[in-house]
């Protein structure tokens, strides 16, 4: 059509009309008994007098000719795209099954990508929903160069932070905040748990957020009289139904009357963007609200509980802020050497503070995000190759149409454009479907977050970036799966195609080679995903069998906080004692005791002094987990004592200070095996403790962690106003939990009891990462497998159709039906085995990389590999068997006649 330069719409009409005519003719000839080849030549023969047609068309459309070649033809181009799109729409409507399948396949692929990108966008790219986040820097302490350990950051004391706010030259404003802390809120009959974050008066103005309701507090209220609180939006919605009356409401928090003065904007969880507080309270309230945890925090320069956030002055860069902070750190170290010696300050991008103070987390999350994006990208590629395969099959069927179009003068470029329009249309429809599926899937997944902290957890957010991403992926997808089929479909020599005798066989072969290669790749990728999912699954299974060094089968733990209910030290001690006594008599309970540490949640402290140990330098301190435990702890928790004795009622407040260490610590510092009787001194204590026993080393901060030293101290000799209750049950711990919680509440009216879990749940929580891994990888692995089997099925069905005549001949010559099924299966499974062979080294490599995240299984676990292969082969067999069965059931005579 190109030389005629008629409008694209008119050209498309003419082509459609002529193509229809030829097809009608062809059909009629075939139904009249003519064989396909002759009918085709006969119909196409009508095109002999093409020049006449061209001339006629030229006469017909003189007005629509483009004036000159050099001039702009943008109008024609736009019109052309529009008419191409309409034409493509019609073509797809004519093949609703193909269109639906293609859109669904692409939709699944794009959906997976949209979901993962939304997560990445929420967590990594744009985690802090505040204006001008670029100018915000996280200010934290760090060890000086001589003792620096990687990127470790340290919290700052309130006083240091205040001096920095006054002394710096780079920040327009500087604020401090703490991590979320558990507080007890009296609402209704029983006390409730909330998370509160202390934030200085300049916190909200530094971040530049605006209240969703009410107001924020400022510097004027940041003192111990400022009994005001700002509520998290989600908490406001969930606990107060988003009512305006919540603002101005009084809450009794840890015994202090606080007034809710405002609500933070929706989606704002503070700088710890992943897990936020329910309320923010002025830092000046620290000692009134949390006298035990935060005692002296406002006056003691050694008590570092805050992190800083600063907004850079206009034109100031982060490097300048860093230099200024280092100078200030030097001044602080000179002025207050006892706490600031050897310390410096860092100014990091605020992004790095979003995951809290935990080290290496941002890079881990970025890495996980990259892996997930790669995985979902591969799933999308599988979807693309499936649709490309289908389009190749259609291209073969549409060879005649292409030949006719080219015969009447359509340029190849023009046809490729037409075909690409079609695939881009499929891509866009798939994108729309995928957007819905991705967002829906993500929201479904989010519903499974623990309800008790639903308001505190980050929500995946939909923004322009996600929409743009999906649109770009949809467009790219259409081009990716459309280009190869379009080029192939239009690579027809007109004359040859019109004459070609063996058109299905000749082109079919090379088409199949391409399709098979794509398919083998899909199988390989599905295999890798399934094998890794299998690894994680086996790892989780094994993890429950790992001995963490304490018993889990009959364990239940409860977190309590009598201090926050306003209990005095004496009353708290009485409460601990009464709970122990009540539970000793309770049915189904073997024993009960108290400990300061939640299992697998302990944190090591440094600064221990060990008798007989020579310090190599001033900063060379001993680090160990410290756990304050009550009488009966070792029996209840199931921690075996290897030497010496347990704590007894005799180890009271007035008795000689004692401690129990674990085997690791004993071996590290007293390799001669004479730890019992030696002395140690804990950080913050003035006297020594005598070691009276050695306990078995357990896992303290993570399951299957490398052994770390631990020191146990008797509760009677070290007071804590918040403790964890350990209960050992006779049978299933879940059965006694309600009764135990009731006993605890009766013993301590107003005391917050929360976080109740069985030992198995404790281990399960510790396996969070692995479970996430299994969930995501199995989902994507099964998605990939499903797509690959659909692709396999499509190819096999197409092949069976193509070889109908051949199989008819074979059957006529006496081949058994079973032989045919075997032949088809063999053909399909050959592709599958190639995929497996390709996937095996990849799976082994990925397994090796993940080895550190696995419990009790190697990265090259044969069972996982074999399991993945078995699942894959089974599903693939099914996908081949269906077309094979159809082939074996056909009537050989009919097949021969048709062929």
């Amino acid at each position: 059509m190109a030389p005629l330069k008629m409008s694209a719409a008119a050209a498309a009409d003419v082509v459609e009309e002529l193509a229809q005519h030829l097809e009608d003719r062809y059909r009629e000839l075939v139904s009249g008994g003519m064989d396909e080849e002759r009918a085709y030549r006969e119909a196409a023969g009508e095109l002999e007098e093409l020049p006449a047609l061209g001339a006629a068309l030229e006469r017909r459309h003189p007005m629509e000719r483009v004036e000159a070649a050099g001039e702009t033809n943008a109008g024609t181009w736009v019109e052309g795209v529009w008419s191409d799109a309409r034409f493509a729409g019609r073509t797809l409507r004519k093949n609703p099954v193909f269109a639906m399948f293609a859109v669904l396949t692409i939709g699944l692929g794009i959906g997976a990508n949209t979901a993962v990108f939304t997560l990445v966008d929420t967590l990594v790219l744009n985690p802090l929903p505040v204006a001008g986040a670029r100018d915000l820097v996280s200010v934290a302490g760090a060890r000086g160069k001589s003792e620096a350990k990687g990127d470790e950051t340290l919290p700052l004391s309130y006083l240091n932070l205040r001096d920095l706010g006054r002394g710096n030259a780079v920040f327009a404003s500087l604020a401090g905040y703490t991590g979320p802390r558990v507080v007890t809120v009296e609402m209704g009959e029983k006390p409730e748990r909330m998370f509160a974050e202390l934030a200085t008066g300049s916190y909200f103005s530094t971040l530049g957020v605006r209240p969703a309701a009410g107001r924020f507090y400022g510097a004027a209220e940041d003192n111990d009289a400022g009994a005001v609180a700002v509520m998290n939006y989600a908490t406001w919605q969930e606990r107060f139904g988003g009512s305006r009356e919540a603002v101005g409401r009084r809450l009794r928090i840890n015994g202090v009357e606080m007034t809710v003065i405002g609500v933070a904007p929706r989606g704002f969880l503070g700088i710890n963007g992943v897990f936020g507080p329910d309320i923010w309270v002025p830092a000046g309230m620290a000692e009134r609200l949390l006298p035990n945890e935060m005692g002296d925090v406002l006056r003691d320069r050694g008590k570092a509980e805050f992190l800083g956030v600063g907004r850079l002055k206009a034109g100031v860069r982060r490097a300048q802020a860093q230099a200024n902070l280092e100078a200030l750190a030097g001044a602080l170290a000179r002025q207050y050497p006892e706490v600031n010696q050897g310390r410096t300050l860092t100014a990091r991008p605020i992004r790095e503070a979003v995951f809290g103070s935990a080290q290496a987390q941002p890079s881990l999350i970025t890495f996980a995000a990259a892996v997930l994006l790669a995985v979902t990208g591969m799933v999308l590629l599988i979807a693309c190759s499936n649709v490309a395969n289908l389009m190749l099959a259609r291209a073969a069927a549409r060879g005649h149409e292409m030949a006719v179009r080219m015969a009447i003068g359509a340029s190849r470029r023009r046809l490729v454009r037409q075909l690409l329009t079609e695939s881009v249309l499929i891509g866009l429809a798939g994108g729309a479907a995928g957007f819905g599926m991705g967002i829906g899937g993500l929201e479904l997944m989010w519903r499974f977050r623990p309800a008790e902290v639903a308001a505190n957890l980050i929500m995946p957010k939909l923004d322009g970036a996600v929409l743009l991403f999906t649109l770009a992926v949809a467009l790219a997808t259409g081009l990716v799966f459309g280009t190869m089929p379009a080029l192939r479909a239009t690579r027809v020599d007109v004359g040859e195609s019109l004459k070609e005798e063996t058109r299905t066989m000749g082109r079919g072969r090379s088409r199949n080679r391409a399709a098979n290669a794509l398919l083998a790749g899909q199988v390989a990728f599905s295999f890798v995903l399934l094998a890794v999912a299998g690894l994680f699954l086996r790892s989780i299974g094994r993890a429950y069998e790992i001995d963490p060094g304490f018993q889990t089968a009959h364990l239940a733990v409860f977190l309590t906080n009598p201090g926050q209910a306003g209990y005095s030290e004496a009353r708290t001690k009485g409460f601990y004692k009464e709970v122990r006594e009540r539970l000793a008599a309770a049915p189904g309970v073997v024993s009960a005791s108290w400990a300061s540490n939640v299992p697998l949640w302990a944190r090591a402290v440094s600064g221990l002094e060990v008798e007989g140990r020579v310090k190599r330098s001033a900063s060379d301190t001993v680090t160990a987990v410290e756990n304050t435990v009550d009488v009966g702890y070792f029996e209840t928790a199931g921690v075996a004592l290897e030497q010496g004795r347990e704590f007894t009622e005799g180890d009271g407040e007035k008795a000689a200070p004692v401690a129990i260490v674990n085997e690791k610590m004993a071996r590290d510092y007293w390799p001669g095996g004479d730890a019992v009787g030696r002395r140690i001194r804990l950080p913050g204590e003035t006297g020594d403790r005598e070691i009276v026993g050695i306990a078995r080393t357990a896992n303290y901060t993570a399951l299957a962690e490398p052994p770390q030293p631990c020191v146990y101290v008797p509760l009677a000799q070290k007071y804590w106003d918040a403790m964890v209750l350990y209960v050992r049950s006779e049978g299933d711990p879940a059965r006694v939990m309600t009764a135990v919680a009731r006993q605890v509440r009766e013993a301590g009216p107003g005391v917050l009891v929360h976080g109740e879990r069985t030992g198995r749940m404790v281990v399960g929580d510790g396996l969070f990462q692995a479970r996430m891994g299994v969930g995501l990888l199995s989902t994507f692995g099964l998605l990939a497998l499903g797509l690959a089997s659909i692709g396999l099925y499509g190819i096999m069905a197409f092949t069976v159709n193509q070889r109908r005549r051949e199989m008819g001949v074979r059957m006529a010559l006496g081949a058994a039906r079973g032989d045919l099924v075997g032949m088809i299966l063999w053909q399909g499974m050959r592709v599958v085995s190639v995929g497996l062979v390709l996937g095996l080294p990849a799976a082994l490599g990925v397994g090796k990389l993940l080895e550190r995240a696995l419990y009790g299984v190697g990265g090259q676990d044969p069972a996982s590999l074999a399991g993945a292969a078995a699942v894959l082969v089974l599903v693939a067999c099914g996908a081949c068997w269906l077309p094979a069965r159809r082939a074996s059931r056909m009537d050989p005579l009919a097949a021969l006649r048709e062929g």
Binding site: L18, D24, A52, L53, R59, R60
Partner: protein
């Protein structure tokens, strides 16, 4: 009929043939070519390359009107119908054709050609 004669015939009478087939009802291109073949007992046939340019020419002249019709479960087709002007043209051509045939008959001595 020889090939040369067929060419001549077509030039003179193709328009009349198509117009008369559209007199009663709208038809699509393939239908028209089929009917010509059928009614002529296979003696007359049109190729795509001459039928469609003819249709387009008639359309250009305003004698026929082509439009796409979509039917459920079928591909859409372009149906051609006579315009009022086309009807007038058909009447005029038919009259002159009859006159021509009658004149031919008289000259050649054949009755009721």
């Amino acid at each position: 009929m020889t090939a040369a004669a067929e060419q001549e015939w077509k030039k003179g009478s193709a328009e009349l043939l198509v117009l008369s087939l559209l007199e009663d009802q709208a038809r699509h291109g393939y239908d028209i070519s089929k009917l010509i073949q059928l009614r002529s007992g296979g003696a007359l046939s049109f190729h795509v390359t001459s039928l469609y340019p003819l249709l387009y020419r008639l359309e250009e002249r305003g004698w026929v009107n082509g439009r796409w019709v979509e039917k459920a479960e079928q591909r859409r087709r372009r149906y051609y119908s006579l315009t009022a002007e086309g009807r007038r043209a058909l009447r005029a051509q038919r009259e002159s054709w009859k006159g021509f045939v009658a004149a031919m008959g008289r000259v050649m001595g054949v009755e009721n050609a």
